[in-house]
């Protein structure tokens, strides 16, 4: 498992390559890149700025990677999350999961992204039309994360 938070631009292609490099036991890699777009609802975006809760952000991602490793037979997981100022075209978040077979890799990557969106302590501020504003949480992200809940009692505290 590799979890990294960085304030520098990074290369998702190199991250994906690092996950399976020199390995011959991996049959499937699913790599997700979340990229800063240049517009939202028709409005031009100049930049995003990501704030995070240092210490808790890493711990929360690692906890979810461990849960993914318990739920699916994974052979490798790599997560990179940007903080600070991000320009359109730059990657905000990268999640890659490796497994013997494709279904586990797809499901684990989607699970991690859904949980990152709703549980990892990061907050996005958007700079558009000369103004900055905090991005509202999306209800559909909560619904996406709720798909993965297995034990309502255990997850009630989250």
């Amino acid at each position: 498992m590799s979890v990294r938070i960085t304030d520098r631009a990074f290369d998702p292609a190199a991250e994906a390559a690092a996950l399976s490099h020199g390995r011959t036991d991996i049959g499937a890699v699913v790599a997700f890149s979340g990229i800063c777009r240049d517009s939202e609802d028709g409005e031009k975006i100049a930049s995003l700025t990501l704030e995070h809760y240092p210490g808790m952000a890493e711990a929360e991602i690692e906890r979810h990677v461990q849960e993914a490793e318990q739920r699916w037979p994974l052979l490798g997981v790599r997560v990179v999350h940007r903080v600070g100022r991000i320009e359109p075209g730059e990657t905000i978040v990268f999640v890659a999961c490796a497994s013997k077979h494709r279904r586990a890799a797809f499901e684990a990557a989607e699970f991690l992204m859904d949980y990152l969106k709703t549980h990892a302590p990061f907050w996005k501020k958007v700079e558009a039309a000369g103004q900055t504003s905090w991005v509202d949480a999306k209800e559909k992200d909560d619904e996406a994360a709720a798909r993965w809940v297995r034990d309502p009692k255990r997850d009630a505290a989250e």
Partner: protein, 83 residues
């Protein structure tokens, strides 16, 4: 007690963290948010709508009913928008 604020709650309160001595009546996260709301104008603004406030005790997500007893660090923040 060490309290941290993030995102627009931090901006509205006007600081990222502070040490506060809490009265004995403040037992849960929900109590804390209500108490902070009456702590001054900037707090009233930050905690205007307690329903949208999320919390972590010692870097673990908790519900408003969570007890503060034994906590080292309490963080208050809006819903997360990472990823």
């Amino acid at each position: 007690m060490k309290i941290l604020y993030f995102a627009w709650i931090r901006e509205r309160v006007g600081k990222a963290e502070e040490e506060l001595s809490l009265p004995a009546t403040v037992q849960t996260v929900g109590d804390l948010v209500q108490w902070l709301k009456g702590h001054g104008e900037e707090y009233a603004y930050a905690f205007d709508n307690p329903k949208v406030v999320r919390a972590a005790i010692d870097r673990v997500h908790v519900k408003p009913e969570a007890k503060l007893a034994g906590a080292r660090e309490i963080a208050l923040f809006p819903p997360m928008t990472g990823g």
